[in-house]
């Protein structure tokens, strides 16, 4: 580990870190929620405009898009324009989906077999750090 570090220039290291942080379609959280971290971009950067229930719905809807949701009953999401929902719609994102923010309300933490999770309306997210930021991956504990 020592040796390759010394042979890389600073710019090279920074470029790699920047590239790692560049969202790609393969990283579902990008498509899912926008670049501010999954849900955040979906619509609750202040100042904004809707009730808590609608926010939660928007958040969940936003987080879901990368997880291949197709049903007409599910909210459509067009990144990066905010899409607001009149009522919360809850459904489970695919296991493995990575988001960089959780719905703002309705989450509680728990520990299963020594691993921390956040439980948001029945969806379990496993927190981890990557590329200098906290992310969450949908998990089946």
């Amino acid at each position: 580990m020592e040796k390759p570090m010394k042979t890389r220039t600073l710019s090279n290291l920074l470029a790699a870190a920047l590239l790692a942080a560049i969202p790609t379609p393969a990283r579902a959280w990008v498509a899912a929620g926008g670049y501010h971290g999954g849900v955040v971009a979906v619509g609750y950067r202040p100042p904004c405009c809707y009730s808590g229930a609608a926010v939660a719905g928007a958040a969940i809807g936003g987080a879901m898009v990368g997880a291949a949701v197709a049903s007409a009953a599910q909210p459509a999401y067009v990144a990066p324009a905010p899409v607001y929902y009149s009522a919360p719609v809850a459904y489970a994102p695919a296991v493995g989906t990575v988001v960089s923010a959780l719905p703002p309300t309705g989450c509680s933490s728990l520990s299963i077999n020594g691993i921390s999770y956040m439980n948001c309306a029945g969806v379990f997210y496993m927190p981890f750090y990557s590329g200098g930021a906290l992310m969450y991956q949908v998990a089946q504990p």
């Binding site: 600073l10 470029a15 790699a16 870190a17």
Partner: protein, 282 residues
């Protein structure tokens, strides 16, 4: 004294540049007017022998000594400072999957205590996690959460910073200034260097230095005078789609800060839990 030597060189450079400028425009004006360039103006004539053809100025050396000397002076100042703090305001461009470039802003408070303590507290849209390095462990913690990541750290700031960028893929645009010899690491791979002239950042007079490498072009603004501090760094990643730029403005420099004992050691807040910190190998 270094500074006066620079100032002298700087003056000489400017005079040369002005002479070239005057000579070139004198000749051009003469051509446009259909005159014999050698008789165009007394000023141009005074600078060049009337019979000599207008000489093409020699190309500047790929690594301009003035630019290197100023980067070195900046480096030497930081190298000789045992403890310092500064604020870094960064703007990172990242191409989005939709095409347009997006900018993400963050503000970091940085504290360095050589050789083995570092603290970075970052607030921002995307990279809002703080770092503690106490010579033994390095910890990352998002203040908005109750989760932290932690790993055993190498013995020095240099090794730790490079490890964070390499294995943990943390984008630290001001990383070079934290190292024990910024000059030698920053100059690795540099192909050209030149002094782009005077600039002012937040009211501070600076010299604007430009460097290029194969994968990136970068610029550093170094304060003029007795304290040649880095005031801004801008990096353009030429090989990444859209050539994104990362600009970090450095302010609030304190070269003799009072740093509380324990500032560099992370103490988990009540209820905080340790989680995985992914590396590039995973």
């Amino acid at each position: 004294m270094k500074l006066s030597r620079w100032q002298h060189k700087e003056t000489a450079m400017r005079t040369r540049a002005r002479n070239r400028f005057v000579a070139a425009w004198g000749a051009l004006g003469a051509l446009l007017l259909g005159l014999d360039p050698s008789a165009a103006s007394t000023e141009a004539a005074a600078l060049k022998p009337a019979t000599a053809p207008v000489a093409t100025p020699a190309p500047p050396p790929p690594l301009e000594p003035e630019a290197l000397a100023q980067l070195k002076a900046m480096s030497d100042l930081l190298k000789d400072t045992a403890r310092f703090t500064f604020k870094a305001t960064a703007d990172r461009e990242q191409p989005s999957v939709n095409g347009p470039m997006l900018d993400f802003f963050s503000v970091s408070q940085v504290a360095v205590s050589r050789p083995n303590q570092l603290r970075v507290e970052t607030k921002g849209d995307l990279h809002a996690a703080s770092l503690w390095y106490d010579g033994k462990m390095v910890t990352i913690y998002s203040l908005k959460s109750s989760f932290y990541g932690q790993t055993a750290a190498p013995a020095t700031i240099d090794e730790t910073v490079l490890m964070l960028m390499d294995r943990f893929q943390m984008p630290l645009p001001a990383a070079g200034f934290l190292l024990k010899d910024p000059y030698s690491k920053m100059m690795e791979g540099v192909k050209t260097a030149f002094d782009a002239g005077d600039a002012e950042i937040d009211g501070v007079a600076c010299r604007h230095l430009a460097f290029s490498e194969e994968d990136a072009d970068w610029q550093v603004w170094v304060e003029k005078g007795a304290k040649p501090l880095p005031r801004r760094i801008a990096v353009t990643y030429k090989k990444i789609q859209g050539a994104p730029r990362v600009v970090s403005t450095l302010s609030d420099w304190n070269l003799s800060p009072k740093i509380a004992a324990g500032e560099f050691t992370f103490s988990p807040p009540a209820g905080a839990k340790k989680v995985d910190w992914k590396t590039s190998e995973k």
